[in-house]
Amino acid sequence: MVTQIMAGAQAAAAQEVRPSRFTYAVPHDDGGLVVYNSMRGAITYVPQSHADAARELLGNRTAVHRRPDLPQELRPMLDGLLTRGFIVPDSDDELQDAADLREQRVARTDRLELILMPTESCNFRCTYCYEDFGLDRMLTGVQRGVTELVRRRHEESGLTSLSVSWFGGEPLVALDVVENLSEFFIDYCAANDITYTAGMTTNGYLLTPETARRVTDLEVRSFQVTLDGPRHTHDDTRSLMGGQGSFDTIMTNLRGLAADTDLDLDVMLRTNFTPENVGSVPSLVEEIGDIAARDDRFTVIFRPVGRWGGPDDDAISACTGKDAELLKLDLNLHASDAGMGVGDTKMLRPGGTVCYAANPWSLVVRPNGLLNKCTVALRMAENMVGRLEPDGTLQLDDERMKLWTANDETQDSGCRSCAFRPSCQGAHCPLIRVQDGVRPCPSVKTWIGPNLQTFADLQRQGVAVVGGAT
């Protein structure tokens, strides 16, 4: 659905108004304007015919407009911008609103997010992977600790929401652990009126339709599967432990999932691209399109391969900076043209680029009971924030926890004045702050112009860019 600001929008009551400090207005190549507000998560395309009026009202961020003083022809535009939150009453304390947003997030005690590693073993050996596969299946005592933790949290804080993400290693290698714990979660949450959701990051090799049925029956419904281009590039970087290719098996599995229309799941297909494989990614997109075009259970996302601390980092050629961002956006448009849903649509929402590691209620549970915050730097001392005991108690190092949960906009005046603050809250990647001591701006903010233009184009193609809000 195309959303454009047109004359005739409802007039708002406010008389003295100004552009929201969280509004971006960036030119579109076709002469129009793309307007976005990070507090409302709203994005709108203004066609060329109305762009000058919008610019007039949004161009000067500090200008205060009095509606009666504006020329008649600007008033419908003002009303439209006001209704969608791009312009706000001058009396609004937007800084306080942003601080409240962050506070509401971190203060939640009724929520628990567990990123569970049922094993760190993996049947793949991807060239860029940062894990070292030391820990096998989750220990029996740790599994018990996880169930007791949920029980304790509910008894102590009244859980209303439990979300579980299965991670690894390859979680399906330890499907039995996933099953055992999922059955507990389902039963316990149902008995105690707790909302329960679960997803899984898997390499897809073992995700046959039969296995998918087993895990969706256990309410694991969101999957992220990685494909690194078509067969010849994927098999170069994502081989089995012995070096054999994995592409054909994964594609067979995806075909099986797509063909089983009764399977109630969401599959996000992630493609990591490098200068070497990026040229062939479009052919992969077409191959996926043949399987899952216009099947809204399937979406695609694209990520430049980074140097993530794995043993082969020096050998990795990475796409970086603006080039990487533009390639990514281009691939998004290509995917949309091929009839595929685009998965990168939530970043523009308030909190949309905050990393889970920044949430005090989010913990990574390693198979040996070690607690981490970030799923990347697994062996980094600052990331080992505690231990889960078999009775469900958490031995947490408060100072280390704060490195991840309080190392954000509250400590950074630059973030507090940032127009993208409601989405990121200075917490896009706490690891970057911990490791490098710098501000972790997400690439969507750094290259906001091309991003907003692409999202506006996607929205005009019918993609729900901010999860339905416009």
Binding site: L135, V173, A174, L175, G310, P311
Partner: protein, 336 residues
Amino acid sequence: MSSSASSDGPRVATDVDGCVTLWADHEDWWVAEHARGQERVRAAGHRAPDGLAAGSVGGGFIAWSGTTAEALTLDGDVLHAGVSRTVPPALQAVAAVGVRGRGVLREIWCGVDAAGGVHVLGWDGESPTTTEVRVPGACGVFVNRRLRCFTVLGETVTVIAPDAAEPAPWVAGALPGNSTARAVAFDEVLEVVWRAEEHVLVAEGLRAGRLVEIYRIPVAAGVTELIVSGGGEWLLLGRDHGDDTLLNVAARREMALPDDVATATVRAFGYDARLCALSEHGVVAVDLPARAELRDVTVGTSTAAWDGRMTKTSSVALRRDPTPRPSSRRTVAGRA
């Protein structure tokens, strides 16, 4: 079969967590705890079972003698005896898996006897059930926890999904070179059957119900025993005449064992990529090289780098019972 070894057959087993190994020598049992930082060895009484196997949960074991088998669980310092049942005579190997049914997790055992008989040992309510399946030449049984089934290796690779009432075996294929295979093992991470032929290790994966060759790795001759690490990354290659070696599967590199491990009669792959040498005197734990260390050294120097690390680690990781008793043969309550 288990992921541990001794020179006298299945009288040694490591639990599924890779944290406890139970073994029997001539007339005593020994318990070694080898989780990182908790290493200790204790005597567990005077009884010599015919065989030992891992149970389906951490700290759990199965011990059998003659036609009786019982479940054992290590709980703190105590080795508790659990259910006991009659089993067919002359079992050579046993495996256990937890199977779900009507909301209950039930442990099912699978035993292989000396005549190629495979016995699925379940429980129907309170009474034990036994179902026999024929697998010609059956010599080993392994658990596939992901699929909650057993893989029986003989002349064929036979998968048994152990519904207690009605085991459902299917044959993935013949085990090629069965007559020339010196040792077999199953890796549940890659879901491959390993077999040692003269000068070569061959791995065949169970893919879409068929066996597909996925590795053929030349190794020094004489392998008579294969043990797979919990993560599938390492194989311990035992040879009758000594010269046991370690193979990193991903890097396809065979390497000598550190001295402490090479001379041990009881070894176990432990949790967190460790190789342990166990004796009544204590635990010697070697941290296996992490992936980074295998990859970021050049081929010309990698063997030296591994050897260096393993030797160094084995000497610093030597830990014995932190509170030695007058005699370290402390009897464990409940199983004296």
